[in-house]
């Protein structure tokens, strides 16, 4: 048990700051579609996009890109309840389209894209970032296992949370209680995250062993094969016909993306990703030729078990398989993971100080990370609002974090946990109020986010008073 506890602490120390960052950004991006509406509340919205409008959208995107090199792919995101907006994307940019398929302004949700990038690859070069994040998923899963091994009686007090006892008792209870009740959730999240992050390594090894290094052929058993390319020019594909064919052949399928590979060439082909209701898979991939004629399904919904398993890991990780209710539960679980991570390292630092091993500066640095990350995320949202979608959000975030941690190390007395928490609560209230007053959104879903930000901020102040200031201090 002692060795399990030591191992648990060692893994936690190795990875806690980055796991905390991933947990917090993951909590935010669960509702990334809703954040996109919040970030650009004035963009064109459509409940449905007809096949004719979809056809017009890709023609419009090609016209928009006139004079630029031919795009290798065209993506048409179909509207749904979470994000009732259609977006057409090429190698040269992304635009919203209206109900008739006309290009209606640029997609510019730079802030939520920045947060997604932070969660998926920590803003490192994409492949390396995914591998690092996948490795952190493995470390998190190992923390869950060693945590259970280190606390054999962890279930005994499963419903006891002495939140208003002394700080150390409260921290231990928060850590253990939240850890126990989110255990299956965190394990599922950690392993699916590791699966997604480390997938490129596995595919690379399989490609070297079986397909002569050809990655597309290595992906084929899971995601389906692509036809051979032919660069000779050809008219753009008939995606409207493909959408109509799909509606007849698989009426229950809800198209989420239409992807045109090598558009404007004789080798072009159309892929439609479509959700299947009450399934964990992210969707089925349906293939069509350039004239919109049916080729078949990849088999993600009814093919080999390995295909269905692989296709199910994404939704299980991102929490987008059961509507707003599941999304809220995922956010609650994500916040709980933030709490478990934050209290775990804080407990270790407190133990270190009780033993006379110092660590005042280290404690201040950890406080700067725990409260600085959400503050920096709010600050980048303001920067996006002031400087527009071209604002250097990545640079600003990491500069703020580096400066905050450095300041905490130099002036540890100034890095007060309570002060930072108050600033964060106030910042959330100002953000919600400011967004609502300045941008005046009329969509209930966007107003809902503003209201939640305000309530969270006020609740932060109130909960702080209840949980902390009513403690009696001695000495």
């Amino acid at each position: 048990m002692q060795r399990a506890l030591a191992g648990h602490a060692a893994i936690g120390l190795l990875a806690s700051a980055l796991i905390y960052l991933l947990a917090l950004t993951g909590t935010v991006v669960v509702i990334h579609d809703r954040w996109q509406r919040w970030e650009q509340p004035g963009a064109a919205e459509v409940a449905n996009l007809s096949p004719d409008a979809a056809q017009a959208a890709i023609l419009g995107a090609v016209a928009r890109d006139a004079g630029k090199p031919r795009t290798t792919h065209l993506y048409l995101r179909m509207p749904n309840a979470d994000l009732p907006r259609a977006v057409v994307t090429s190698d040269h940019g992304a635009s919203y389209v209206d109900a008739a398929g006309r290009v209606a302004g640029p997609e510019a949700h730079a802030w939520i894209e920045f947060v997604i990038g932070l969660h998926e690859y920590l803003h490192l070069p994409a492949t390396w970032g995914l591998i690092v994040v996948g490795g952190l998923g493995v470390a998190l899963a190992a923390l869950v296992v060693t945590g259970v091994l280190a606390h054999p009686r962890i279930l005994r007090d499963a419903f006891r949370l002495r939140a208003r006892h002394g700080a150390q008792v409260a921290r231990v209870d928060w850590h253990n209680r939240l850890g126990v009740w989110t255990l299956p959730f965190v394990l599922a999240l950690a392993l699916t995250g590791a699966f997604i992050g480390l997938g490129s390594v596995g595919f690379s090894v399989l490609a070297r062993a079986y397909t002569g290094g050809d990655m597309e052929k290595a992906y084929a058993p899971i995601f389906g094969r692509e036809p051979a390319a032919d660069a000779a020019p050809a008219p753009l594909p008939e995606i409207g016909r493909a959408l109509r064919t799909l509606a007849v052949r698989v009426p229950a399928a809800r198209p989420t993306y239409v992807i045109v590979h090598d558009p404007g060439t004789r080798g072009q082909h159309v892929q439609i990703l479509a959700e299947h209701p009450r399934r964990l898979i992210y969707g089925e991939s349906y293939a069509f030729d350039g004239r919109g004629a049916w080729r078949g399904a990849a088999g993600l919904s009814d093919g080999a078990l390995g295909q269905q398993f692989a296709a199910s890991t994404y939704n299980l990780h991102f929490g987008n398989y059961g509507g707003l209710g599941v999304e809220i539960a995922y956010m609650l679980g994500g916040l709980a993971l933030c709490g478990v991570t934050a209290t775990g390292t804080t407990m270790w630092l407190a133990k270190r100080r009780r033993r006379g091993l110092g660590g005042r500066r280290l404690t201040a640095c950890w406080t700067a990370v725990v409260w600085g990350v959400p503050l920096a995320l709010v600050a980048t949202a303001w920067l996006r609002a002031i400087a527009g979608p071209v604002a250097p959000l990545v640079l600003a975030f990491w500069t703020m974090m580096a400066a905050g941690v450095a300041a905490a190390a130099i002036w540890p007395r100034w890095t007060g946990e309570r002060g930072l928490r108050m600033v964060l609560a106030a910042a959330l209230v100002v953000t919600g109020l400011g967004h609502g007053l300045v941008l005046a959104p009329r969509v209930p879903a966007v107003l809902g986010i503003d209201a939640v930000l305000i309530v969270l901020g006020i609740l932060g102040l109130f909960v702080d008073r209840r949980l902390l200031t009513r403690r009696l201090h001695l000495g």
């Binding site: 060795r3 030591a6 191992g7 893994i11 190795l14 490795g135 493995v138 899963a141 190992a142 296992v145 499963a158 419903f159 949370l161 002495r162 208003r164 006892h165 002394g166 150390q168 008792v169 209680r177 939240l178 009740w181 299956p184 392993l191 596995g202 595919f203 090894v205 399989l206 062993a209 290595a218 058993p221 899971i222 009450r278 964990l280 088999g299 093919g303 080999a304 078990l305 390995g306 398993f309 692989a310 929490g319 398989y321 059961g322 209710g325 599941v326 539960a329 995922y330 679980g333 407190a350 270190r352 100080r353 009780r354 006379g356 110092g358 209840r466 403690r471 009696l472 001695l474 000495g475």
Partner: protein, 179 residues
């Protein structure tokens, strides 16, 4: 499905009622939780199990947060803190820490990847399809890495951490040879 989810919430509530009280209530609660998971699986497959699990977790979290909200305030005593001792705990064994990192991250990663790859080759030889063998590599690598890391981190020193990745590499080699 709505009934099953209601059963899950009631089950968690009964588990809470039975905690430190009636064992019958707790047992009934756990039985309801299990029934909701099995029912979800039978009705809607993996989707049903996932939704039922999330609802159960959310219900338990709400009860735990309620317990925290209702917990009585206690007298807080100042934390005893020993005076810092110079020279203690300041990078005392940097070499050991680097060895632990190397063994648990790159070495364990490579051993797990090799074992997962060899496992899929073996599965192919036994007649598994290409898709299943591919998924076995992708899913096996992180799970095996986690298992090796857990084993290593519960050992008393870097020397004892070598056994797990070495065993994984040997088993992988045997599977590769058998395939």
């Amino acid at each position: 499905m709505a009934l099953l989810l209601l059963g899950m919430v009631v089950g968690i509530a009964l588990v809470r009622l039975g905690w430190g009280g009636s064992r019958g209530a707790a047992a009934t609660g756990w039985a309801l939780v299990a029934a909701a998971l099995v029912g979800g699986g039978r009705l809607d497959g993996a989707w049903g199990v996932a939704v039922a699990s999330v609802v159960g977790m959310a219900a338990a979290l709400v009860l735990v947060l309620w317990a925290g909200w209702r917990s009585p305030a206690r007298v807080q005593r100042p934390v005893r803190e020993a005076a810092p001792t110079i020279g203690v705990g300041r990078w005392p064994d940097l070499g050991r820490r680097i060895a632990v990192f190397v063994l648990t991250v790159p070495v364990a990663f490579a051993a797990a990847l090799w074992l997962a790859f060899a496992g899929q080759a073996w599965a192919r030889a036994l007649g598994a399809g290409e898709a299943d063998a591919t998924a076995l590599t992708l899913a096996g690598q992180p799970v095996l890495w986690c298992a090796i890391m857990c084993w290593q981190m519960t050992r008393s020193g870097p020397g004892r951490m070598i056994a797990a990745p070495a065993a994984a590499a040997l088993v992988g080699a045997a599977m590769w040879a058998a395939a």
